[in-house]
Subunit: 207 residues, 2 copies
DNA sequence: CGAAGACTTGAAATAGATCAAGCGTTGTGG
DNA sequence: CCACAACGCTTGATCTATTTCAAGTCTTCG
């Protein structure tokens, strides 16, 4: 897929013409990140946003050897927006958890774009709002729901469109803020109660 | 304090002239909320934002009889922005925890204002980003830090400007997502270790 | 003044984490 | 292409921080 085409799927740019996208493209700097490589950290000054076009990036907080995943990003997504619009530092850390490719867009240029194409600002407000919904949902899950129902809801949601889904315990544990062991136990509980079926790594919900 | 004056302290309006504020004022509908009265709930469709000019409002999530506070708002603050820019429903519930006064501003009018005064959109992006920082911080506190250090950090932060601060166990427990008992125990631990002093309801940090 | 609400302290319960060990899967380099 | 090392998954046993339950004291204010 061409970069131009990819830009179109970044929601804030979706309303722009090819000509306009072409201009934005000129601001972007692409870089490959290997699995395990840091994209940005909360210690560093936020200089702009990233656009993930390939791979997977984990956004997380770390403190005293423990860590909490906030979100796993997959293509095509924008990262680091909050840092760009407020504050010195990014609010969290981002690390590639697969070999990935990201473009960087400087805050100054982003603001230039927003000012030039006012429609974009509403889109941007929409993105930030979506981030807030996601985080509020995370807090709800972390503090109000037990492990088994969280895993169950996760699976239900993932199998909403597709019938069956590839299930990686480690990844799900990360996304839900649980340990691998807890997720594994939750799965066997759900299997026993007949709510799900799992053959190999393929999982499906019984409705 | 006049409404016009109050509007000026809502950061998104701070750059507007009196004439412009006067126009915005005409969109606002004020209403008194008694202690315990619901301002909005996550079940209801988001029709606009609120501006708190008096009292205290708690933003929280509830599930199966349990609840988790996301934030306590004090004047002058805006509430419900995320709902206005995305999604059918507000992401959480808001309830007055003191007798309060709020103005309501319809989404349509807010967007009109943003489109008319483009500078406002950057301010708005800043507000949403600040909300994200706050929530990320909440997640960090809830999942990575223990009760005693959370209470300690809370007190340190609150006593940053003032030397001494009025401490209400119940309110702090809400804000930190802990039980009253846990906060009370944390306080006595901190007192014993000499890190803080508390006489009556007045608390201070030993530095 | 008295009663409702706020705070403290102790004892018990609990959900999930941590530690530990064994098994399964996979992919790489010899 | 096979072997085996590294990694992922499962299951059991213990541990621990915080919640819950309970009961008593202190505060405040109508």
């Amino acid at each position: 897929m061409s970069l131009l085409h990819q830009l179109k799927s970044v929601s804030i740019f979706s309303s722009l013409s090819e000509r306009e996208l072409y201009e934005i493209e000129s601001y972007l700097i692409g870089k490959k990140y290997l699995n395990g490589e840091m994209v940005f950290s909360s210690y560093e000054t936020a200089r702009g946003v990233f656009i993930l076009t390939e791979g997977k990036v984990k956004l997380y907080k770390a403190f005293k050897g423990k860590e909490q995943t906030l979100r796993i990003f997959t293509p095509i997504s924008m990262l680091g927006e909050a840092g760009a619009f407020k504050g010195e530092h990014y609010p969290a850390n981002a690390i590639a958890i697969e070999n990935s490719y990201l473009f960087f867009l400087e805050t100054g240029n982003l603001i230039k774009i927003i000012e030039r194409y006012p429609k974009i600002s509403l889109k941007m407000l929409g993105i930030l709002s979506e981030r807030l919904y996601h985080l509020v949902n995370l807090v709800e899950n972390l503090t109000l729901k037990d492990a088994v129902s969280r895993v169950y809801e996760y699976i239900k949601q993932k199998t909403d469109e597709k019938k069956e889904v590839l299930f990686k315990t480690t990844l799900v544990a990360m996304e839900l803020g649980l340990t691998v062991e807890t997720v594994s136990r939750a799965i066997s509980t759900l299997k026993k109660s007949g709510k799900i079926e799992k053959i190999g790594k393929i999982i499906k919900v019984n409705r």
